[in-house]
C-alpha cells in the first residue's frame, strides 16, 4: 500500500468482512436507488407537464360532455380517442366575454396497419389560421413558410422524419417537421391542416380501406385562449353556463389528473423508501456497535500506538461513511442505469407524461441523496464512535481479550 492513512485503513477494515460490507452496502444502495428513482420520476413528470403545457398553448380545452377523461388521457399519453360535437359550439364560445381566441381540432385515429406506425396513432386536424398550439413552432421552424393542406407535422415518437411521405386513409401527406419531445401525448400526434384532413375524410369512402364517418361540421375539441385581464376559471364557468353538452378543463386540471394517477404509486414508493432508510439507519447503527465491540482490543492497541481519541472517532465514522457513501453511489448508478434503460416502459405502465429532467438537476438530486447516505452512516455510527473513542486504552484492550 502506498499510503497508510485513515481512509486506506477504513477501506481495509471494510474488506475484512466482505459479506457484511456487501449486505449493508446493498441496504443503503436499495434505499438510495429507490429514492432517486422516485424523485427523478416525479421531477420527470413535472418537467413534462411544464413543457407540455407550454406546447399546448391553450388556457382552456372544450370537449363533448362525458369525454373529459378520454381527452385528458389523449393529451397525457397520446392514447387516441375519437369523439365529436357540432362546430356551433365554437361560434358561440368565440362571442363570450373574456375569450381571446378559439381554435378547433378534429381527432382521427390512424388505422392499425398504417405504414408509419405500429398501433393506433392520433391524427389531429388543426386550423392554421386560428391555431395557437402548433403555429408558434411553425413560425420558428418553417420561417413563416405557408403550410400546404397535405403538409403534416409529427410528434417525436412518430417514425417519420422530414421529407418523408405517408398515406393515411388513401391520401398522401408529406412530413415538413418533427416536434421536440415533450414526454406527453403530443409526441404521438400527427398534426394535419384542417383542409387536408377534411379532404382525407371525404375521400376515404373511395380511397381508403375504411370510410370515415365524420361530418364536415364535426369538431373534437376547441382550444381557447383567455384575455390577459380575464380570469381563466371565470371564463370556464361562463362557457359551461352558456353551452350544453360540453366539458371544460384547464391546464391545471390536466396536471391534477396526472397527479391523481401518480399519487397512489408515488405515495407507496416514497413510503417504502422512507422505511428502507429507517431500517438502514438501525441496521448500520447495530452493526457498527457490533464492529466496535469486536475490535475493542484493536482500537485499544491503536490508542497504545499513539492514536488520539479524535482519530479513533474518525476511523469508526469514516468506515461508516465510506460504507454508506459507496452503497449510496452504487444505488444511484444502478437506479440511473435502470431508469434510463426502462424509462419508456415506466412511462407506459404508469401512464404518465415523463421527460427526463436536465443533467444539472439530476446531478443535484444525486449529490443530495449521496449526502443523505453519508449522513445516515454518520448518524448511525455516532454512538459507537463516541463510546469507542472515550474508552480508556487499557479497558479497551482488556475488554477485547
Amino acid at each position: 500500500m502506498k499510503e497508510i492513512n485513515l481512509l486506506t485503513l477504513a477501506l481495509q477494515n471494510l474488506r475484512r468482512k466482505p459479506y457484511r460490507t456487501i449486505v449493508i452496502g446493498l441496504c443503503v444502495a436499495v434505499a438510495t436507488g429507490s429514492l432517486f428513482a422516485a424523485t427523478i420520476v416525479l421531477r420527470g413528470v413535472q418537467h413534462s407537464l411544464t413543457v407540455g403545457r407550454a406546447r399546448l398553448g391553450a388556457d382552456l380545452v372544450i370537449v363533448p360532455d362525458g369525454y373529459e377523461t378520454l381527452a385528458q388521457e389523449a393529451f397525457i399519453t397520446g392514447q387516441p380517442s375519437t369523439f365529436y360535437m357540432s362546430d356551433v359550439a365554437e361560434k358561440k364560445i368565440s362571442t363570450l366575454s373574456g375569450v381571446n381566441q378559439t381554435s378547433p381540432q378534429v381527432f382521427v385515429e390512424t388505422l392499425s396497419n398504417a405504414s408509419c406506425c405500429i398501433g393506433e396513432f392520433f391524427l389531429v386536424g388543426f386550423d392554421p389560421e386560428t391555431d395557437f398550439t402548433i403555429s408558434p413552432w411553425l413560425t420558428t421552424h418553417l420561417d413563416g413558410k405557408a403550410l400546404g393542406p397535405f403538409d403534416i407535422i409529427v410528434g417525436d415518437r412518430i417514425l417519420l422524419r422530414e421529407g418523408e411521405t405517408v398515406i393515411f386513409y388513401g391520401t398522401d401527406f408529406s412530413v415538413v417537421g418533427v416536434l421536440e419531445k415533450t414526454g406527453m401525448g403530443i409526441d404521438r400526434t400527427i398534426y394535419v391542416p384542417m383542409e387536408g384532413l377534411r379532404s382525407m375524410i371525404a375521400n376515404s369512402e373511395t380511397l381508403a380501406e375504411q370510410t370515415l364517418e365524420i361530418s364536415p361540421n364535426d369538431l373534437s375539441s376547441i382550444m381557447v385562449s383567455v384575455k390577459p385581464d380575464a380570469e381563466i376559471l371565470d371564463v370556464a364557468e361562463l362557457i359551461e353556463a352558456n353551452l350544453d353538452g360540453v366539458n371544460v378543463f384547464t391546464a391545471t386540471q390536466l396536471n391534477q389528473a396526472v397527479g391523481n394517477q401518480l399519487q397512489g404509486v408515488l405515495g407507496i414508493t416514497f413510503g417504502v423508501t422512507a422505511s428502507l432508510w429507517l431500517m438502514s439507519l438501525f441496521t448500520i447503527g447495530l452493526v457498527f456497535s457490533l464492529i466496535v465491540n469486536e475490535r475493542q482490543r484493536e482500537l485499544g492497541i491503536l490508542r497504545a500506538m499513539g492514536a488520539k481519541r479524535k482519530v479513533i472517532f474518525q476511523l469508526v465514522m469514516g468506515e461508516a461513511g465510506l460504507l454508506t457513501g459507496l452503497g449510496g453511489l452504487s444505488g444511484l448508478v444502478a437506479a440511473g442505469v435502470l431508469l434510463t434503460g426502462f424509462s419508456r416502459l415506466i412511462q407506459l405502465r404508469l401512464r404518465i407524461p415523463y421527460l427526463l429532467p436536465n443533467v444539472f438537476e439530476i446531478m443535484g438530486i444525486s449529490l443530495l441523496l449521496l449526502l443523505l447516505a453519508l449522513f445516515t452512516g454518520a448518524l448511525a455510527s455516532l454512538h459507537p464512535a463516541l463510546s469507542s473513542s472515550k474508552m480508556e486504552p487499557y479497558a479497551a484492550i482488556r475488554k477485547g481479550e
Partner: protein, 144 residues
C-alpha cells in the same frame, strides 16, 4: 488461496450473468407477431433473431463462467476473462447494431428486452475487465 477465491467469485458471477442473459428473452419476451413479406410469406420479426443471438451469447458466457470457476491456472483464467469482456461487448452491440431490434421504440423488444440485455451485457463487460486485470502471481505461503 485468496486468488482462487476471488476467481471463483468472478467465475460464478459470470455464469450467473450468462444464465440471466439466456432467460431474459423468455421473461421479457420480444415481439410475438409475424411480418408478411411481399411474396405473402410470413416471417418472424427482426427482434426474434436478436433474441436467439443473445441467448447463444448467454450460453457461451455461462460456460466460460463455469470454466473460470474450476480452472486453477491464473494465466488461463485471465485469458478467459478477456473473452468474457468481449462477449459482454457483443451482448451490448447485438441489439443495437448487429441484429437491431424493431424500429418502433414502443414495441415490446425495445421497451424491456433490449435495455435488460444491454444492462446485463454491461455488467458482463465490467466483470470481464475486472477479472482480466487481477495479478496472475499466486500469493506466497507461510513457511512456518
Amino acid at each position: 488461496m485468496k486468488q482462487l477465491k476471488r476467481a471463483s467469485t468472478s467465475g460464478i458471477a459470470t455464469a450467473v450473468l450468462g444464465f440471466l442473459i439466456v432467460i431474459t428473452p423468455i421473461i421479457l419476451p420480444v415481439c410475438e407477431g409475424l411480418l408478411e413479406l411481399a411474396s405473402g410469406k410470413q416471417v418472424p420479426m427482426r427482434c426474434h433473431w436478436t433474441a436467439r443471438a443473445e441467448m447463444l451469447l448467454g450460453v457461451l458466457i455461462f460456460i466460460i463462467g463455469l470454466m473460470i470457476t474450476f480452472l486453477k491456472n491464473p494465466q488461463e483464467r485471465r485469458r478467459l476473462h478477456h473473452l468474457v469482456a468481449m462477449l459482454g461487448a457483443a451482448t451490448i452491440l447485438t441489439p443495437i447494431f448487429i441484429i437491431p431490434t424493431c424500429m418502433n421504440p414502443d414495441m415490446a423488444c425495445n421497451l424491456a428486452t433490449k435495455p435488460a440485455l444491454i444492462i446485463l451485457g454491461g455488467v458482463v463487460l465490467l466483470v470481464g475487465m475486472a477479472g482480466s486485470r487481477t495479478p496472475s502471481m499466486p500469493s506466497s505461503e507461510s513457511t512456518e
